[in-house]
Symmetry: C2
Subunit: 612 residues, 2 copies
């Protein structure tokens, strides 16, 4: 996820674009850049860090001009630095391009261009696309928009792009597939942006560009063509949402937006990595270390909070598929012990921000003992990503809500891919199970989508339990960490004391808490421990607890036994946490909202815990 | 702990002794036996199981006679079966003996008797003592009481014994050291028992025999001599306590009694195993497997509830001292996975009752995968003790309170000894640290005693928080499992929702729960993580949480920072859980009592969970 802003018209472009970029910083903020044009040609300024850093940089530079475009980045390819920031020049500097999304086949395109003698200054997929377009434009002799269209016909991936042409200070070419792009239509001026927030103070008339459409602004006129070269008439509509609501994509809170983004973010975390059709997969960041991972005798996973829960899920998956013993440690506990690390041991560190202080310190300790460290982070180029030997990014996009949701499912997805890769290399997984799991993985986004459609039903249940003082969450096997995660969500944002337990452990103590006032959320999907957890539910019901069960679609038994059920689609047992956690996120969110809590900024908590 | 009853007078002894034994079954109930005498000589009947089983057995037997003694057993040496049950005959069957306690040097005495041609039918220390007394009596030519006195002068250990003499149907000889013995004085009749409950319905006049005293009843007369042969005048007093209170040793609840028993029960769990003076230790049950333990590459500990917490403590100790990686698993989760067990892996199963169904099933699974299994149980001869390859009993005596207290400290003690033995064998511990820890272990009972003396202060704190709705418990390192255990105690008996967390993990979510209504118990003893946990306390105080800190004696800093402090003596860091858990047990107990809960039988819970 990145933020895009562009302008062409009669105003000074630079301050307008910078202001717009700040509105979009929720989409990413690891580096920013701007392209401007006047008599002095096409100029690009870029800077690592927030938009404010770019603004400071520009203060002393020539920045006049009435056309410009800017970008605030959330790194996907290449670490966040000045060079990798957008815009990118094309090879002969005739064009500049900004891009939000991922070009999956960029490596193949790059290879072809390298053969033609091209060189690249950055590690980004975006620079490759810019050079590719310029190359076609130069060699095919058509218009710039033709070149864009031909280039995009070759591209696999998701994108929203805007291109400036050094030869024409009235021209902007934009296109989208999968990533959003809004065009604002003013009096003799046009605005483009990833959402309407940078636009609404100038005009309420907007066009939401559709997938496979190319927009061309030239000499004050807008035309839209499709990738197959059909001219379409864009639909101009009025923006009526509040600024803040637009940033949140129409959702009341970032957390809710992020919950609903999960079909996309889970897909993003697999994008370019899983090919279910051919039964293959690869994790670029692991390539050189896969043998080591597969050969390891012991894996230690470290993390904090939600990341620690993702680690617990991974423990089950690694042990089951790759038959490697896994220990999951709280980073804060690990770092203050004298942990046992032997040669060949692998440490996997999980952190959304990649800046978690305890986890970073634990990595340094493990390194000093000779461990090989893998990182699973969301923020590209973060401290943890840089401190590890290898790893895989989760590509979930920036997470703004303090209570982590899409980062968790992305972590679990990536850790599952790591386990699959290790199992495949080690030969502990059959070809048929491997293929089955890849196919199942690809089906997860649609299944998550289906759960999200039940949001209203979950809201009804949340309403009933708005004023509960306590909650217990129970699960077995892979759903035990999900129970912990569900309880943590409720704690974090509603301030209700919720606790997760392995269901069978309850009778060794916590069952004393159960009475008619105690809501008990039980994840009781149809898998190998289904019969056992039904028994645990009966134990709770015998003490008059009120049971909310997460069940598998078509389960006709549990509804008669429990007070409320929330159905999820049938999922392969190994992957069930990716789907079973969704209703728990919604339940926590709804209860917190009904209690009037500040969901996106719960009391006492910080998004990224950079202190120990 | 066992129960003892004896009678001589004009009544039928058999029904009186059986009734008395039933009153004493809280002291142990794995087997029972009785000795009776009339014209048919000295007859002994014994039976595995509860007293009721013995009673049934006796229904068809000759059981008349006005002298008799009985015993209900809690096994310490030898599994519970008919043969190991008391009474035991002496070698020439002139005497029968019942015994409560442990003869620590029985092996040496047995060796000497074996050389003389003696044989033994049971594995008990008691049979050894009986034969030893008879041997002295036969060879020294004095009276039976002289022989008892001379024998006991040689004995190291704790005991309450009663002896019947085949040659004299009016004679009972009893002695005590360390284990209780009460003598009831009636009209021409005498009663003896471990406590007054079997006696009070016949007479209120009782004598509490003192340590090192021998009581002889002969021809209707009682004399008391000391071990050094001074005749003393026994002090006859009136019993005024209620029956139930006597069983509970004057405490309001079994749980409280068991909390206060810990200086003794911890000592019992080390008895005969630790010789701090000579810097040596041994664990009989481990002898043949110690090399295997020391050579293991990985230990998996399984348990449920409180036993699982003891396992978490052991994880730290094993890793720190013996440098063997340890994983601690919930038995219920372990058994339903396909756990990875490799050759050379050791599984340690922990269970107070030795009958926990989930743990037993987990053992069977681990066995089927070729693991070597060690057991740490309290009940000798229990299913788990029989299912394991090796192990060590905790010797804490029967635990009646459903919320486990003395079993936990005994488990931690024994697991510490196992870790020390492994570390010593492996050479990962220095001689000086080894000796230091043995000496520190010996000092633990006195330190626990000191904490118990602060019970009134803890009660005052409990009073203030009687109506708290939630509690958080925090600890780091070895005190993290103690925090979990403290929270579990409160949950179990007060039904307050309490949760334990590693202190530094709190900021990753649970800190959202903290406000001025939230009591937070922090174990903040002066050890390596002291500074860190002080920071965690400050985080809590900054959110207005109310902090009860468990501190080390002489800490002058924390009292100014927190709301309440409870001091414990300075303890070596590795052993701190044995002492830091005590105030948490008392706090939970006091709060539960003030809330009017049924402490010994909390709702929904069972003492020994023999279902999964």
């Amino acid at each position: 996820m990145c933020g895009i802003v562009a302008y062409v018209g009669h105003r000074e472009a630079c301050p307008l674009v910078l202001k717009g970029l700040k509105r979009l910083e929720y989409r990413g903020y690891d580096s920013a850049g701007i392209a401007l044009m006047n008599g002095h040609g096409l100029r690009v300024y870029k800077k690592k860090g927030k938009v404010a850093a770019l603004e400071q940089e520009l203060a002393a530079r020539e920045s006049s001009g009435t056309i410009g475009m800017g970008h605030t980045r959330w790194a996907t390819h290449g670490e966040p630095n000045d060079v990798n920031a957008h815009p990118h020049y094309s090879f002969h500097r005739k064009l500049a391009i900004i891009h939000n999304g991922i070009i999956e086949n960029y490596a193949a395109i790059k290879q072809a261009l390298l053969k033609k003698g091209h060189t690249f200054t950055s590690e980004t997929d975006t620079e490759v696309l810019g050079q590719f377009i310029e190359d076609i434009w130069e060699n095919n002799g058509g218009s710039l928009e033709d070149a864009v269209r031909l280039a995009l016909q070759e591209v696999v991936g998701a994108y929203a792009i805007v291109i400036m042409n050094e030869a024409d200070p009235t021209q902007l070419v934009a296109a989208r597939k999968g990533s959003p792009l809004v065009i604002g239509v003013g009096e003799g001026e046009f605005f483009m942006a990833s959402d309407a927030t940078p636009i609404v103070e100038y005009t309420k008339d907007v066009i939401y560009l559709n997938d496979y459409e190319i927009a061309v602004i030239k000499n004050g006129l807008l035309t839209v063509v499709t990738l197959d070269n059909t001219t379409t008439t864009p639909y101009v509509q009025k923006v009526e949402l509040e600024l803040e609501a637009i940033e949140k994509g129409g959702f009341d809170h970032f957390m809710l937006k992020e919950i609903f983004e999960q079909p996309r973010s889970i897909a993003d975390s697999m994008r370019g990595r899983v090919q279910a059709d051919s039964g293959t997969m690869q994790l670029g960041g692991l390539r050189d270390y896969l043998d080591k991972l597969a050969a390891s005798e012991r894996i230690v996973i470290i993390g904090c909070g939600t990341s620690w829960h993702a680690g617990l899920v991974a423990e089950y998956i690694f042990e089951e598929l790759a038959r490697i013993p896994v220990e999951v440690e709280y980073a804060s506990e690990f770092r203050y012990r004298n942990p046992i690390i032997k040669e060949g041991d692998i440490v996997i560190a999980i952190s959304q921000s990649g800046e978690t202080a305890d986890t970073l310190a634990a990595i340094e300790l493990a390194k000093s003992k000779g461990a090989t460290i893998f990182g699973v982070c969301n923020v590209v180029g973060s401290s943890i990503a840089r401190a590890t030997d290898a790893g895989a990014y989760t590509h979930a996009g920036p997470e703004i809500g303090v209570a982590s949701t899409k980062a968790f499912t992305a972590q679990v997805t990536v850790l599952t891919l790591m386990a699959l890769a290790a199992a495949k290399r080690k030969g502990t997984i059959s070809e048929s199970l491997f293929r089955l799991l890849l196919a199942e993985l690809e089906s997860i986004p649609a299944k998550v989508e289906k759960v999200l459609q039940a949001a209203d039903k979950i809201k009804e249940i949340a309403y009933i339990f708005t004023y509960a003082r306590n909650f217990i969450y129970l699960g077995r096997g892979l759903n035990f960490p999900v129970a912990l995660e569900g309880a943590l969500k409720l704690k974090e944002i509603s301030y209700i004391h919720a606790e997760g337990y392995p269901a069978a452990e309850m009778k060794h103590g916590p069952i004393a808490l159960i009475d008619e006032d105690m809501p008990v959320v039980v994840i009781a999907t149809k898998d190998s421990s289904y019969e056992k957890i039904v028994s645990n539910i009966q134990e709770v019901k015998a003490r008059k607890g009120r049971v909310i069960a997460i069940t598998t679609e078509g389960d006709t038994h549990l509804p008669s036994l429990v007070d409320f059920t929330i159905e999820i689609p049938k999922v392969h047992e190994v992957l069930v946490p990716l789907v079973s956690v969704i209703p728990l996120q919604l339940l926590a969110y709804d209860i917190a909202v009904m209690r009037g809590r500040n969901v996106d900024q719960p009391r006492n908590l910080a998004k990224s815990v950079t202190v120990e």
